[in-house]
């Protein structure tokens, strides 16, 4: 397709009957529209406070196809700027991370500051070579400051940004999906926050469409069969299987918001403690103590445990074992750059952090024994859908069609059993809403925009 009309788009996804056209995984015009309609309006994960702990620290991030600079200024504000010089577009910051008083462009030397002691608006142009002689007083330094992202929010260490000034607050966007994200970000003993990033972000390229990754993490228990080789060799922290025994998880989908998770309902009865790191007494003792603390700290408050999920559109996470954040940056219709961050309790003893790191790295990321197979699946699903004939044939998302029922304790959510593609149907319904226009009053239902804690 050269261009794509709303009518075309509505034909491509039939979420009610569980079919989706392969075009949306291949087509360039659809991809460009995704960048314009989804990635420039959605809340996107751009980093973690741990990546920019000190004033003037920066981290080069992305929002869709746009490179951005995430930085903390001298006043402590966390800011996000388009990483492209306002003069002629040069990528202003070509480092992955660092510390800088000002960002100076290598091309013609324009420089920009975030320090409010020097400028009124962070990102303002402060240095221009040949300013007097060349521009006189005709160059408006404010007008040519860095393009700044209007909405930036920090949530339990994670940093989110949104280009649309009219967008709803992040917590409304998140809705009750928050409980599941909390389980990844909170301390294992139930204290809010309390996790940190294990230094370093894994970044790697995969020739697949970004939605394959997002929909997989949104709740695809069905694909577990492709990981049988890992189950067989016992990489789990307890030395058996792929991970330690878990209670069955349910596909829980947030119908109006597009998020999906495989997890438990917000129950109050924790399963019995199961020895997790039996091979290491110190690590084992830590998890046992933390388990007791969690039960004591949270008491009868609703709480969730195991989960893996996607927050629409492209932020995915594992929150138990391993405990990671996976961002799927779209590069082209058929390529992504995956970014993986690993989380651990900030105040855990070093041996606990080491055991977690080793386990995470042999499970996740490109060197992960589990994820290596996912990359194979996503790559060849993309490649073998690109042909003229293949494109005529829809994908099937009919698993557990019609089995969704309300998820107790969660607003606007449904659960549909363990093996279900309801979350994928929800994801693609949400995708269509964004792609076919609609303003925020249409996109954000009132029922999910209440403070999450009032729900129970």
């Amino acid at each position: 397709m050269d261009t794509v009309s709303e009518q075309d788009l509505r034909r491509l996804v039939d979420a009610d009957n569980g079919t989706v056209s392969r075009e949306i995984f291949i087509d360039r015009a659809i991809f460009d529209r995704e960048m314009a309609r989804i990635f420039s309006r959605a809340w996107l994960f751009v980093g973690h406070e741990g990546l920019i702990p000190k004033p003037d620290d920066f981290f080069a991030s992305r929002m869709g196809r746009d490179p951005v600079i995430l930085t903390r200024n001298r006043q402590g504000e966390i800011l996000v700027f388009l990483n492209s010089c306002t003069h002629r577009g040069m990528k202003l910051c070509r480092y992955d991370q660092g510390n800088a008083r000002a960002f100076t462009c290598p091309y013609h030397g324009w420089s920009f500051s975030t320090n409010r002691d020097i400028v009124d608006e962070p990102g303002e142009l402060v240095g221009v070579p040949h300013f007097e002689a060349g521009y006189g007083d005709r160059l408006d330094r404010r007008r040519w400051g860095l393009v700044r992202c209007p909405n930036v929010t920090v949530y339990k260490g994670t940093i989110w940004a949104n280009w649309d000034a009219g967008a709803p607050p992040f917590l409304d966007w998140l809705g009750d999906m928050r409980r599941y994200l909390d389980f990844a970000l909170d301390h294992r003993d139930g204290r809010p926050g309390g996790s940190e990033v294990i230094g370093g972000v894994q970044k790697w390229r995969v020739k697949t469409n970004w939605k394959f990754v997002a929909e997989n993490f949104a709740g695809d228990m069905y694909h577990d069969i492709s990981h049988r080789s890992v189950d067989a060799v016992g990489i789990g922290p307890g030395g058996k299987g792929r991970r330690d025994a878990q209670r069955p998880r349910l596909a829980i989908g947030f119908s109006a918001l597009g998020h999906g998770v495989l997890g438990e309902l917000p129950h109050t009865v924790e399963p019995e403690y199961a020895p997790t790191f039996a091979s290491d007494p110190e690590v084992e003792a830590y998890y046992r103590r933390i388990y007791d603390d969690r039960v004591r700290n949270l008491g009868n408050q609703p709480r969730v445990t195991n989960s893996v999920g996607t927050i629409f559109p492209n932020m995915s996470f594992h929150s138990r074992q391993p405990r990671t954040i996976l961002i799927t940056h779209p590069i082209s219709p058929t390529e992504v750059e995956l970014w993986r961050l690993y989380l651990v309790d900030a105040d855990a003893p070093q041996p606990v952090k080491d055991a977690a790191r080793h386990y995470y790295l042999r499970y996740s990321g490109p060197g992960g024994m589990t994820e290596a197979d996912d990359m194979e699946n996503w790559t060849y699903a993309t490649d073998s859908s690109a042909g003229a004939i293949a494109r005529r044939h829809d994908f099937n998302y009919q698993l557990a069609l019609g089995h969704a029922k309300p998820a107790p304790g969660l607003r606007g959510a449904v659960q549909s059993g363990t093996y279900s593609e309801e979350n994928q149907r929800i994801f693609y319904r949400r995708w269509t809403q964004f792609m076919t226009g609609g303003d925020w009053s249409e996109l954000m239902p009132q029922t999910t925009s209440v403070e999450a804690d009032n729900a129970d």
Binding site: R94, D96, W204, S226, S229, V233, M369
Partner: protein
């Protein structure tokens, strides 16, 4: 800094012996004789692969992730290397089924430090090039540096430590299912 008393000629023999060891090792990997490769690893091996970052040239020490502190591409011991090899042998590890074709090349081998003692250990550095061809048109080229420590035992040389420094910032391959 040398702690050995070898003559130049003895050192040359040692160099040759170690180059031979590294070539045999590469051959075993390319021939997918992974069980035989495992035999060449010391039981206490540390096998790790840091990630490289783009940082200002004045902050050179930040250029790679830290050992035993940061996330890396890989951080393995004998137990998990053995598990990886068992996974390859299941026949249902889809990332390597059907198998990829690899060619490992090792060059610029240098002996950095020879520590005589029981056992004798030798720190070496080299360059590697690993080509992986998969299915029809998937081709990955991994190029970088290796720092290996070899240990002399009654049964021959064993690999006691390997640090793999890949010359990529964003990994350009979809996964790492081969050994370096």
């Amino acid at each position: 800094m040398r702690t050995d008393r070898r003559t130049a000629l003895e050192r040359l023999f040692l160099q040759r012996e170690i180059e031979e060891f590294l070539s045999v090792e590469a051959e075993l990997l390319d021939a997918r004789r992974f069980e035989d490769w495992l035999v060449l690893l010391a039981p206490d091996i540390r096998y790790w692969m840091p990630m490289m970052r783009n940082v200002h040239s004045a902050r050179g020490t930040d250029e790679s992730t830290r050992e035993q502190a940061d996330a890396n591409w890989m951080d393995e011991g004998i137990e998990t290397l053995t598990q990886r090899i068992r996974q390859l042998a299941t026949g249902i590890h889809w990332a390597e089924e059907p198998v990829s074709r690899t060619t490992h090349m090792v060059s610029n081998v240098r002996l950095l430090d020879i520590r005589d003692g029981t056992p004798c250990e030798v720190d070496t550095s080299c360059r590697f090039l690993v080509y992986r061809n998969r299915q029809q048109d998937e081709a990955d080229t991994f190029i970088g540096k290796r720092l290996d420590t070899l240990r002399q035992t009654e049964d021959g040389w064993r690999l006691a430590r390997r640090e793999i420094r890949l010359d990529q910032n964003v990994l350009l391959a979809k996964n790492l299912t081969t050994f370096f």
